[in-house]
Symmetry: C2
Subunit: 168 residues, 2 copies
Amino acid sequence: MTVSKTVEKAGDAKGRKEAPEVQGEALQLGELSEQLGYVLKRAQLKVFENFLRCMASLQLTPAQFSVLLLVDKNPGRNQTEIASTLGILRPNFVAMLDNLESRDLCTRIRSTNDRRSHILVLTDKGKAVLTRAKKLVATKHESRLNDLLGQANREALIVMLSKIANEF
Amino acid sequence: MTVSKTVEKAGDAKGRKEAPEVQGEALQLGELSEQLGYVLKRAQLKVFENFLRCMASLQLTPAQFSVLLLVDKNPGRNQTEIASTLGILRPNFVAMLDNLESRDLCTRIRSTNDRRSHILVLTDKGKAVLTRAKKLVATKHESRLNDLLGQANREALIVMLSKIANEF
DNA sequence: TGATAATTGTTATGGACCATATCAAATATC
DNA sequence: GATATTTGATATGGTCCATAACAATTATCA
């Protein structure tokens, strides 16, 4: 395909700025492809997209998976503790838990120490689902990074991203 | 919907599951800290946050900056072309352009070849703002990655993220 | 040629996610 | 015991993202 710069008609000059017009060719990303934020965002979207595909059978979003992981690793914690370490605001965590509880994956238990708070615990079904989810993530999701980058690079990537997340 | 209001008293375990209750200590992230999606998302949020701080004087979001960069690098393209290469849906691109145009950074020019389309061009002010923005990004934003990771690692990171964005 | 299809920018709209203010109940503080 | 703080929850608004639909224009092709 050939670039055809169109000569604009001379008659329509209303003091309008004339722009060179291009067709068909692929756009030049230019410096965009080296902008950290740009490439980071696009990578994140791709990874989430793939995560959702891998988890289609369990119907778990990345955020829901992180809640199950964290509750399982930290039994006996309340909503604010779990939510805040995940960067989720308490009001927004309510609907999330309603969802998980309605699917019998997680339970709110009123604490006997502090009857304001709700202790979070995974149900048996929740634990089973989490186990299956971990396997899916390992075999279908994370393994794909190894294929793409190699083991060493994959680990280096995680380390660098963690550093950015914690120290930037 | 109201849940059983405070009917249970302390001490009566009526078939209620008792959860071990913990207080005060920091939560264990566990496998979460090695989940690609988790660390990727948190890093992205931090980077965007820092970007906005650096650009406060110019009032440019990452998305707006990317539009200016792309229009500058590809003069004579129309809205759909610019939007699609940025992953922005055309309907959502309209308000974005309205904003940039109202600030006199970008202009829509009706094409004489195809009178359906609007050719996008940066205004003089838009070019000036972009130049200043690039400088701010380089000196205040991207440089921080070098300080944190080192030049070589920074480049390796961008390469890996691009690979994920394009091939995952 | 003329009828039909496709494209462009746009509007309207709904969903998902995020942030703030506010509330009642329970607890902490003084 | 009066006041302040914490916890879960509701209401609400903003932003981003996705789809449907429309008028104007252009492409297709019978």
